[in-house]
Symmetry: D2
Subunit: 218 residues, 4 copies
C-alpha cells in the first residue's frame, strides 16, 4: 500500500480497536477436505494453517469454548447451488455425502461441535450461525481457516455486522494465492476486525475462566 493511501486511511479514522469479551467462540470456516486436499480442484496445501488451527482448537476445548465448523455442501442435483455455481462451477464438487464436504480429520472435531452446512460464502448467510451464537451467549468471534479472500472475508464482515467483536488469527487463515490473501487481511484489519497472532489469541483463551464458558454453552 502506498504512503498516500495509508495517510488516507489514517484520516478516515479506520483502525479503531475492538475488545474481546468473556465468552468467545471459535469459528472454523470451510476447513473441509475439498479445500485442504490438493486432490480436489478447489483445494490447496493448507497443512500449516490446519495444524495451527488444531493448536488453537485444543486450547479452546480445554476451556469449554464453543467451536463451530462450516462446510459448503450442495445436494446431488446441485439445484440448491444458486447463482454462485454459475460463477464458480467447480464448487459443484462439494456434494453432500462426498469426502470433500467432510471436516478435515486433522482438526479432531468432536460430536458436540456443531457443523453448519452452507451454500454461500459467508458462514452466516442463510444459516443458523447467528442464532447459535446468541443461544450460546457468545460475545466474541475468533475466525480461522479458509479462504482468506473468500469465505473468511465474507464471514468476518457478517460477524461484525451481527454485533460481535471479531478476531482473525493470522497463522490460521489460508488462501490459495498470496496477493488476495494479503489484500484481504489488510481490508479486514482496517475496517471490520482485528487481525491478531496465534500466540496472542492462545494467551487470551488460556486466561479465560473456564466455568463461565461451559455455563454459556449448556
Amino acid at each position: 500500500m502506498s504512503e498516500e493511501d495509508r495517510d488516507l486511511y489514517e484520516r478516515s479514522g479506520f483502525r479503531g480497536r475492538l475488545t474481546p469479551g468473556a465468552r468467545p467462540a471459535v469459528l472454523v470456516v470451510d476447513f473441509s477436505c475439498g479445500f485442504t486436499d490438493e486432490a480436489c480442484p478447489l483445494g490447496s496445501d493448507m497443512t500449516a494453517e490446519v495444524e495451527k488451527t488444531r493448536t488453537l482448537l485444543d486450547r479452546a476445548r480445554d476451556k469449554g469454548i464453543p467451536i463451530l465448523f462450516t462446510s459448503i455442501a450442495y445436494e446431488g442435483s446441485l439445484k440448491d447451488g444458486g447463482v454462485w455455481l454459475q460463477k464458480v462451477p467447480t464448487l459443484g464438487e462439494l456434494k453432500v455425502g462426498s469426502r470433500w464436504v467432510e471436516i478435515d480429520p486433522r482438526l479432531g472435531r468432536r460430536d458436540e461441535e456443531v457443523v453448519i452446512y452452507k451454500r454461500g460464502a459467508s458462514a452466516f448467510f442463510g444459516t443458523h450461525l447467528a442464532s447459535q451464537l446468541a443461544a450460546e451467549k457468545v460475545d466474541t468471534v475468533i475466525v480461522t481457516s479458509a479462504t482468506t479472500s473468500g469465505c473468511i472475508r465474507a464471514s468476518v464482515v457478517d460477524s461484525l455486522q451481527c454485533g460481535y467483536p471479531t478476531f482473525v488469527v493470522r497463522e490460521c487463515v489460508a488462501d490459495r494465492a498470496r496477493g488476495p490473501h494479503e489484500a484481504n487481511l489488510f481490508d479486514m484489519d482496517s475496517k471490520y476486525a482485528e487481525v491478531v497472532g496465534l500466540e496472542e489469541v492462545v494467551a487470551y483463551v488460556d486466561g479465560l475462566v473456564a466455568p463461565a464458558m461451559t455455563a454459556a454453552s449448556t
Copy 2:
C-alpha cells in the same frame, strides 16, 4: 497478481460467467454526501464516478428500471452503531438529519426511488433490500458507487448470495485508495460478480423492453 496465482485461479474454476435477466435493478450504494464530499472525514473526490452513475441512472429511468439507494445513518445517540463504530469511529459522523446521510443531489434522486438506511457495510444486511427486490420481481442487480473495498464488496457478495446475477460497473464504483479498489475488483470479478464497463451496461439497459420493467415495479 503473479502468473502463478493466475494459474491457480484458472485451475480452481473461477471466472465463470453470469447472464443478466430481463428485470434488473440499479443499486446505488452509499453515494451520500458523507462519502462524496471531501469536507466529511469519510469523504473523497468521487466526481467522476458520481457523474458516470448519473448517466446510468438516467438511462435506467428512461426504461422504468427500479433504482434503489442506500445510505449509512445512525441515531443521534449512536446507540445503533454496533461494533462497527468501535472499529471505525468516524462513521459516527453519519447521523440521521445531517447532510452527510443525504443522497448526493447530483444523482437526481426522485421521490419514488427507495432509500434504504443501513448501519452495516452490506446494503442487504439488516435491511429490507432483498424483500424489496423480490416484491419488484427483480432478477438482476447492477451495482454502483462507494466504496469498492467496503460497502460495494459486502453488498456484491450478499447480492450473489441472495440469488441475483450481479454486475459491478467499473466506471461507477469509487474508493478512496487505489490498491484496495483494484484488489476488490479482482476478487469480485473472480468469484462473485461480473465487473463490466459502463458502455456495455448502457447498451444492455437500452435494449430492455420498457413495459415489462414498469409492470414489475407496480
Copy 3:
C-alpha cells in the same frame, strides 16, 4: 369470531387481495414422517392433507413448477437446537439420519426437488429458502403441509415479508388440534396471505404456461 371483532377488522382495512404471478413455487413445510406418522410423539394422522398435497404436487410437476420441501432436523448432539428445544423438548426426536426427518414418501419427492433442513419454525429463518426462490425467479409462493398453527404460520408471515404474494391451500394444511388450526387460518387470511381452496389452486396451476416455468428453474 364475534360480530364486533369482524367489524373492527373491516374498519382496519384488512382482507385486501393478493394476486398470483406467473412463476409460483410450491412450499411443502414439514411433511416429514415425524409429523405425519402417529408413532412419533410430534405426529398425528394427516393422511387427508398428505394426499391432497400429493395431488397438487403432481399437477405442479406436470408444469415444471419448482417444489421445495422443508424438514426440521437436529444434529445427534442436539447442540444446534437452540432455545426452541428447551420450550418443546420432543423436537429432539427429529435427529439427522432418523426416519422422522425424512420427507413422507407418499409425496413422491424427486431428486431434483430441494429439501431445506431447518431448526426453527419458519421455512425461511436461517435457511437458504429466500435465495433459492430468487435464484429460480419465483414470484408467488403456494404453501402446504404442517402445522397450521406452527411452522405454516411462521413460514407464511416470512413469505409475505420476503416479498411474495402467498397462498395457503386450505385442504393441504394440517394441525394436530382444531382450534389453533382455525384461529391461524383466520389470522393468515386476514393479514398475510390468501387462504384458498385446492380446486382454485389446481385451476391456476393448470392454466400456467409450462415453458416459462421450466425456463425459470434452470
Copy 4:
C-alpha cells in the same frame, strides 16, 4: 380449547419452560400513535396496556436495561411497502414524518432508547434488531405492546428463533380483537415463549444487578 386438544398438546411435549438470563432487553413493538390512537384507522384504545408498559419501562430504566422500540413506517411514495400493503392497504397511513409513526409519548421514550423502523410484521425481519441485541450482549427478550395477533406473534417467533428466551407480558400486549388476542397468547405460550404476568416480570427486573446491565449496553 377442547379437552382433547389439550391432551394432544400434553402428548406433543409442548409447554416446556424457558429460563430468563441476567441481561434482558425490553422490546416495545409498534406502540406508535397509529396503533394506540383511535383516530387512526389502524388504532384502538390501548390505554391500559400503554400504562402497564410504562410501568415496566420505568423499572427497566432504573436498572439500565436496554429498551428498544419499533414502529412501522413507509416512505411517502409507499414504494417500500412490499406485498403487505396490498394485503392491508390501511398500513399506508404509516408514513415517515407523520404522527402515526411516532412512539406514543405516554411511554416517555428517552433519546438513547433505539427506535427501529420496520416494514413488516416482525421486529426482527429486515432490521438491525438482532445485531443490536448481540452488540448489547442481551440474553433474554421481554416483549410488550401491539398487536398480539400480528406483530407481537411474529416478533416472538423470531426472537426465539434468534436464540433468545422470550417472555410476553400479558398485561402489556394489546389487540383490537379479543378472539385473536387469546388464540395467539395460547400459541405463543405453548410453543415459543412464556406468557407471564407484569408483577412477575417486575420482580425479576427489580432483582437484577444494575451494574452488569449498564456494562452490557456500553
